[in-house]
Symmetry: C2
Subunit: 467 residues, 2 copies
Amino acid sequence: MDSEQFRKFGYEFVDWVADYFAEVGDYPVRSRVKPGEIKERLPAKAPQAGEPLETIFRDFKEIILPGMTHWQHPGWFAYFPANNSPESVLAELLTAGMGAQCMIWQTSPAATELEEVVMEWLRDMLGLPAGMAGVLQDTASTATLCAILTAREAASGFEANKKGVKQPLVVYASQEAHSSVDKAVKIAGYGKEYLRHIPVDENYALIPKKLEEAIVADKKAGLVPACVVSSLGTTSSAAFDPLEEIGQICRRHNIWLHVDAAFAGTAAILEEKRWMLQGAEYIDSFVFNPHKWMFTNFDCSAYFVRNPDLLVKTFEIHPEYLKTAADTQVKNYRDWGVQLGRRFRALKLWFVIRSYGVEGLQSMVREHLRLAQLFKSWVDEEARFEVMAPVNLSLVCFRFNDGRPEPELHNKNKELLEKINATGSVYLTHTTLKGKYVMRMAIGSRLTEEKHVRQAWELIQKMAKEI
Amino acid sequence: MDSEQFRKFGYEFVDWVADYFAEVGDYPVRSRVKPGEIKERLPAKAPQAGEPLETIFRDFKEIILPGMTHWQHPGWFAYFPANNSPESVLAELLTAGMGAQCMIWQTSPAATELEEVVMEWLRDMLGLPAGMAGVLQDTASTATLCAILTAREAASGFEANKKGVKQPLVVYASQEAHSSVDKAVKIAGYGKEYLRHIPVDENYALIPKKLEEAIVADKKAGLVPACVVSSLGTTSSAAFDPLEEIGQICRRHNIWLHVDAAFAGTAAILEEKRWMLQGAEYIDSFVFNPHKWMFTNFDCSAYFVRNPDLLVKTFEIHPEYLKTAADTQVKNYRDWGVQLGRRFRALKLWFVIRSYGVEGLQSMVREHLRLAQLFKSWVDEEARFEVMAPVNLSLVCFRFNDGRPEPELHNKNKELLEKINATGSVYLTHTTLKGKYVMRMAIGSRLTEEKHVRQAWELIQKMAKEI
């Protein structure tokens, strides 16, 4: 493809994305294809000869697009949002165009140093302790794995890296903690029998007393408590573990404190939500995802640590072929995580933070919080619905409840959710809270306005009449 | 930013990328900035108010760009290439625009099914066994970690996931294997004392006899051999371990065989290089990076397994909030690797394979192989230089040698490499082979033509006269 063709298709693709942003609300949010339907339409073998880009682009629109679930849809209320933004998409174009692999300082100094800078910006925007250092990871799963590995090394005096996990080490997280904790505990070789799921209170927050009891019992049994994962904004209900109390327990017992604030962390840019970081001085590591609620397209996960030396010591490798003259003077982020190869993620984050400004980001997050309270007030007013968890942020957990027995309610809510989603206008997902089937209304898409939330509620009410 | 602004900046950025492709050869390949120089030019705090995109784009060009090392430069001979291509960059624009997070089938069926299809294409293009199933990972580091974890579970009967690594498990790789093996062994909790670096022969290939001796000795000592990592194309010299012999040993001792073909794998699309996969029937898992030599921009790493059930069983998680009605009928790739969240990487790979066609990719790879042989012939002809390893693919390891003692040669070559790179016309990196400092001429950038290789060689000779 020559330069003129690239320009031609480039403009055409830019137009397509511009139209997509404008019209994404017209698609069914959740794809309606059946399993296997897309695959059936694709040839089993790669083409021998090259094909014109017109043909590939046509197939993209005709075959692929109907199989997409539209995460940027204003009716997106599923899981948590994974927002992009025009500014972030444009920056990603530059990143892809340069195609730099930013594993070490030397292979693109600007990528390393811009990452240092935007991570300091983020740290200060959230009000994390000034001494913390940051690195961009792909996902919170990876960042939490990094934390659990560093905790393993800290607890074993770096012996686990050498000899494996000889003495049983224990990780603690609430019953509501994200599945990535379970996954990381397995990967890191603790063994999932050494993951304690600590009970939660009526607000789905970890009970500190239960945590300390578990720690004491494990110590008595000769086990070594290594890591506590505290959730700020759980996946099911955006519950907040009491950070300060947990931090004091960790300090008392000399245990690594990792904080998973994957979704909720962004809200800490608001003064009025800063309470969530009360106790931040106890944090050893912290993750939140700008790719969720900070309008920076996936993937972009921000990981902060109090002591980067421990992180580096956990991961560092020194093959001859990666040594450079600058090594003693610079950060080589290859040693700050699992992967050697790294994309230039800081660029899109820099574009987003600068183009919105802190105030712009704050006002968007505030609006989502307002919409969630509004939705909650509607649910509260409607006799046949109930709110199922505190609405701390922009997630409302609720269910249909007309007074029938619990097992029937379970099925009715499941049926209702499927009917709602089948309309294609909105997409909500579910969870269970204390065994009850609950719908999750996760507000936070960039394009979601009050009218979309209102339409969603009207639709939910309408469908509830039909079940 | 409204739709018109997005179009305006979109066109402008497309033009910038088009110009960048055309002019990338005019930049110094390796950035000339000093440590800290970029950071100094960036404000310490995020802006409160949003800034115009013009300003950000101007800063990108004035501050960031001089700090970039240009991986797409035709004079890029460092490490291995990390190629992009116009087609891949355009596809990435669509991916970023849609902003779909493809963790499970339901969250974008087309992403999952297209991934299945392109992985089948790749498997057949390389001539891997028909039964193997594939998944896209970010990097070979992650894929190798997946392999070493699955091997851990297979060897322990899935007990390590439950109880940690109780009985010592052992991993084997050559002395020339990539550092990601060392990293994965630490992460997975084997302990690096249980990684055996098997000696290599005069071609830097693992010696099978030494491998089997080590296995037998470990078994005798009561240890459990769990995994052999065989390198096809090592990082230092693109050496090939003898796959078939290693495979037979693994079969004999019931050990997981992982193949790291991160760079070299792409060459298996050529009939004349298919010898590298002799013994492929023994492979349990295999990784190669389309983001290196297959013109698909970073990151995009292809991981194949013989038995996906073992992979899934190693990683699977079943939180309520991720359950969908389709789960029993579809692949949920979240359980095929470390991360939960996943980008839509298959799209760019699909664009690349279709637009080049298998023949187009073959001819580009063949040309790089030809250029490497040409470069090698020049080095062979020049008395003061010597080739230091077999040129199996497109990497030439060589050094200056005018007959002075070894310690002086080490320093002279180091000095020479620094002088060559300081010109900004080319970028080569180094390694050590049998303790000798060696320059690596890794040919394989999309824009590299014979004239660039010739200019590089002229420059190297010229600089050698000046040291």
